[in-house]
């Protein structure tokens, strides 16, 4: 592949490079000004929008890192995201395993039923969902969010796992069955270790979805101490109004972990998106 593309004379024309650079500027500028804005004084923002700040005093960053809100809201988000990923991976892979490898009456029906979730976005039923969670005593708890997010993620995760399991060599499962190995042990000792790439894809995908989610925590959580970071940052912005340097510092600190994570895991994010999109 690399050799083939080297032979081509110029894969990207000058006109294309020019537009790419313009688009790149358009993408970068908001990030750039946000990152520098945390160091600037408020008056500086207006007179010196693109230049480097007059001083690199990190006072706002230090204050935020030392404050109560930053680490607790990030910690809450991390806890919810990890809980969602672990549970969703486990539950969806078990279901997909049963649907892909065990023959039983009604399995196409169950697959079709679970795929109904791909027809409409989870926000659609959010109001009755709130009532249901209230009646079950799941409001204002991290567990409530985790469980509901797992439910939301089931359709897509089962689809990805199911597609992957069907590709596994059938002989492997049959051989294990001949050796009197039960399905539960086949799932745990044979299938799961073979499907690490798809676990990574589903896991990263659900992690990002949970980390960024806003509507569900907004509706479920009441206590500030339980807020996830998107709620925390909205509240911070509400509290400091237009003290933009402070808000930009908070924003910078909040999105940095996500950007670092994305740069490390982008391969899995992209394969989840395109794999699911193309096969779904």
């Amino acid at each position: 592949m690399a050799a083939a593309s080297k032979k081509r004379r110029s894969p990207v024309s000058p006109l294309q490079w020019l537009t790419l650079l313009i688009v790149a500027t358009f993408v970068i500028v908001p990030f750039y000004t946000t990152a520098l804005g945390g160091f600037k004084e408020i008056g500086e923002l207006r007179v010196n929008p693109f230049g480097l700040p007059a001083s690199w005093d990190p006072v706002r960053f230090v204050e935020i890192l030392g404050g109560p809100r930053y680490f607790s809201s990030l910690g809450n988000s991390l806890l919810i995201a990890l809980g969602t990923v672990v549970l969703s991976t486990l539950i969806a892979s078990m279901t997909a395993f049963a649907l892909a490898h065990i023959k039983f009456f009604g399995r196409n029906f169950i697959m079709g039923y679970l795929m109904l979730g791909l027809l409409f976005p989870s926000a659609t039923g959010i109001l009755p969902l709130f009532i249901k969670m209230r009646d079950l005593g799941m409001l204002d708890s991290h567990w409530g969010i985790i469980i509901v997010q797992v439910a939301f993620s089931v359709s897509f995760a089962v689809l990805l796992f199911h597609n992957f399991f069907k590709e596994l060599p059938k002989e492997l499962i049959d051989a294990a069955r001949m050796d009197n190995c039960g399905y539960i042990r086949i799932y745990w000792y044979i299938t799961l270790p073979l499907c690490l790439p798809i676990i990574a894809t589903v896991g990263v995908f659900n992690f990002v979805g949970s980390w960024n989610s806003f509507l569900l925590p907004l509706i479920v959580l009441n206590s500030e101490s339980k807020y996830t970071w998107p709620l925390g940052i909205m509240q911070f912005q509400g509290q400091y109004g237009s003290d933009w340097p402070r808000i930009l510092a908070f924003l910078t600190l909040s999105i940095m972990p996500a950007i670092a994570f994305f740069l490390l895991a982008q391969r899995y994010v992209i394969s989840g998106l395109t794999g699911g999109a193309v096969k779904g």
Binding site: Q16, M94, I102, L116, I247
Partner: protein, 310 residues
């Protein structure tokens, strides 16, 4: 082995003697593996939609018994609500902007970035970065960019001697402002789908056309774009469903304002159904949204099927 293949064919051929609905050995794993997903999915995805449909025929504030049956009144209220029309119009504008600006931009970038090299990889990652960012964070970053007093836009305006309006406080400018953010946030996602499609085109096809002296843009126009039709259908589908569920980005940017001019369907649902605990009204909005989503999804499957088998 024989039992496996027997049960596999059982539905089609004459049922063999040993065939049962479930093999005894697979009963326990099934009872262990299936219920968790089925219960969670039924309870928190399917049942809420059924409830929404039920609520939509009643007048209910969320407390006490549901008794006040009002027939189709809630639907009439939703459809005649003056801000519902605005919300639908805004969602349609999002779809139009996605199809006319965002997807062509994504295609342009994808064609340039479908090759493999280091500089290209850096750019691809950069363009995809806004998509990974939480909507709330993206909304707040752009709220700063647009801020009338300290933001980037007025700073640029005063540098070139133009007085910029407070775009997010202006009933007209708020919509183009939001569209720009949507393009910034999502074009990289569509670009990635197109790149995946372009990379699946066999190299020989392109090479053969090139050796025949076909020009670069003719290759794009007559070979590359037709060959990734299904990626384009997928992209259009995501653009439409994304527009139907747009929420997180709007709340920090404009919160549906000024004077409810920038609502989308879900922010409308949030503002007038959830915050006011009007279950019936909200249920009616949910049902209408659900119907729209199902129509889009079914149309998508049909069109994708036709494109792939053509």
């Amino acid at each position: 082995m024989t039992t496996l293949s027997n049960t596999a064919n059982a539905g089609a051929s004459v049922a063999p003697r040993r065939w049962r609905y479930v093999e005894r050995k697979s009963l326990l794993p099934l009872l262990l593996f299936l219920p968790p997903a089925l219960i969670l999915f039924s309870l928190f995805v399917v049942l809420p939609m059924v409830d929404a449909a039920t609520f939509s025929f009643f007048n209910w504030n969320g407390y006490g018994p549901i008794t006040d049956f009002v027939g189709l009144e809630n639907y009439a209220d939703v459809l005649t609500h003056r801000n519902f029309g605005t919300a639908v119009r805004n969602s349609l504008i999002v779809v139009a902007v996605s199809l006319l600006i965002q997807l062509p931009l994504a295609m342009w970038c994808a064609i340039a970035l479908a090759e493999r090299s280091v500089s290209i990889n850096v750019m691809r990652t950069l363009f995809f970065l806004p998509f990974m960012l939480a909507e709330v964070a993206a909304g707040l970053i752009w709220k700063f960019v647009y801020d009338g007093n300290y933001g980037l836009l007025p700073a640029v305006g005063s540098a070139i001697g133009v007085d910029m309006p407070f775009v997010l406080g202006d009933k007209f400018w708020v919509i183009p402002a939001i569209m720009l953010v949507i393009t910034w946030k999502y074009f990289g996602f569509h670009m990635m789908i197109f790149i995946a499609g372009l990379q699946s085109i066999p190299n020989e096809v392109i090479e053969a056309a090139r050796l025949d002296g076909v020009k670069r843009w003719q290759i794009v126009r007559h070979i590359k774009i037709p060959m990734i039709r299904s990626a384009i259908v997928i992209s259009v589908f995501f653009a439409i469903t994304g527009a139907l569920q747009l929420f997180d980005l709007i709340i920090p940017l404009s919160n549906g304002g000024p004077s409810h001019s920038s609502h989308t369907i879900v922010t409308f649902l949030y503002q007038f159904g959830i915050l006011r605990m009007k279950l019936g009204f909200g249920g009616a909005v949910s049902v209408l949204l659900f119907i729209a989503c199902v129509i889009v999804a079914l149309a998508y499957r049909r069109i994708l099927f036709r494109v792939e088998h053509n």
